[in-house]
Subunit: 192 residues, 2 copies
């Protein structure tokens, strides 16, 4: 798990910093902001808790650093309107099925539900990454009208399948989800 990212060229402190960040991201994803402790992060990173303070100042700043993440949204500008829903559902399913415990968007979502700061970050991510990616595919007008509810549907999947693990949703195969959710997203993209 948790590819530590980066950097054979890094100094020892760089590697320590990266290890802390990886551990923090995993803990924030698994338990949310309140329940992750600096001690726990330090333990996962195999270093002393005081190192976390040294490099990141305090828990809030560590959280910020852990959330400074690129969602790696796919380029949707060459996807036809017909293919868009399926492409979207597939993209997120692939991401989340792979390593749900470490996905940036799931980390953010879990914490944003009970943490104002994380919620503000979520707003940023949506405005600067999700909405533009959608607008590239369907145009600014349709995106302005439907990006919110399309996101609601995708985050609804994230919520029920990966955060709450509702049996009725975890029981479905990725294929079943794709066949059922893609037409739904297509419906909200259609003009009313």
């Amino acid at each position: 798990m948790t590819m530590v990212s980066v950097d054979k060229g890094g100094s020892r402190s760089d590697r320590t910093k990266a290890a802390i960040l990886t551990a923090a991201r995993a803990r924030f994803a698994a338990h949310g902001y309140e329940r992750t402790t600096i001690r726990g992060v330090a333990e996962d990173a195999r270093i002393d808790p005081s190192m976390v303070m040294r490099y990141y100042g305090n828990k809030a700043q560590l959280f910020d650093a852990a959330l400074a993440i690129d969602l790696r949204m796919p380029d949707l500008s060459n996807v036809s309107a017909d293919d868009l829903p399926r492409t979207l559902v597939r993209h997120f399913l692939t991401r989340w099925e792979g390593d749900p415990a470490d996905d940036a968007l799931l980390v953010l979502t879990r914490s944003a539900v009970t943490n104002e700061h994380a919620a503000a970050r979520m707003h940023d991510v949506f405005a600067t990454q999700v909405a533009p990616a959608l607008a590239a595919a369907v145009g600014p007008e349709v995106a302005a009208r439907s990006a919110g509810l399309v996101s609601a549907q995708l985050l609804g999947l994230a919520l029920t399948r990966y955060l709450l693990r509702l049996p009725a949703v975890t029981a479905l195969t990725p294929d079943q989800i794709e066949r059922s959710l893609a037409p739904a997203i297509a419906a909200t993209l259609k003009p009313t």
Copy 2:
């Protein structure tokens, strides 16, 4: 705020218990399980923190009591398949627009994202209240196949509009949501 609900007939202790429960529900809804403190609940209820312990034993049991709630799902057995999606969306929109900060399902969702116990409760609520109500309308087979994703879409709305308050979703009117989300739910109910 926080109408203390109830009960002229109640003894003084009954009124105190009810006041505690109301305050607890509001706090759990606003901040989730971890961040609500017994001290805070007691302050809202205008009583001493030790009263909370006296009546509810501990924080976990207080949480349980706060979540022992009937979702008041509507009777869907006489709703036609065509009307079902719109009926569902309307039902939940009406509930949530009224008093989002005190709605049982939102309380539960906010806490369930970071609390195992609340998540287990959520599974219960889904299995005993949501799924049967759906099955009454569309039959057990369709319900078994689609109840999970229908719930995902409704909870996605709850998540983005009331918990995260994403501007792209809060900007929509209830009518716009109904017109856009009802066809989406209809699409996931259709056989693939």
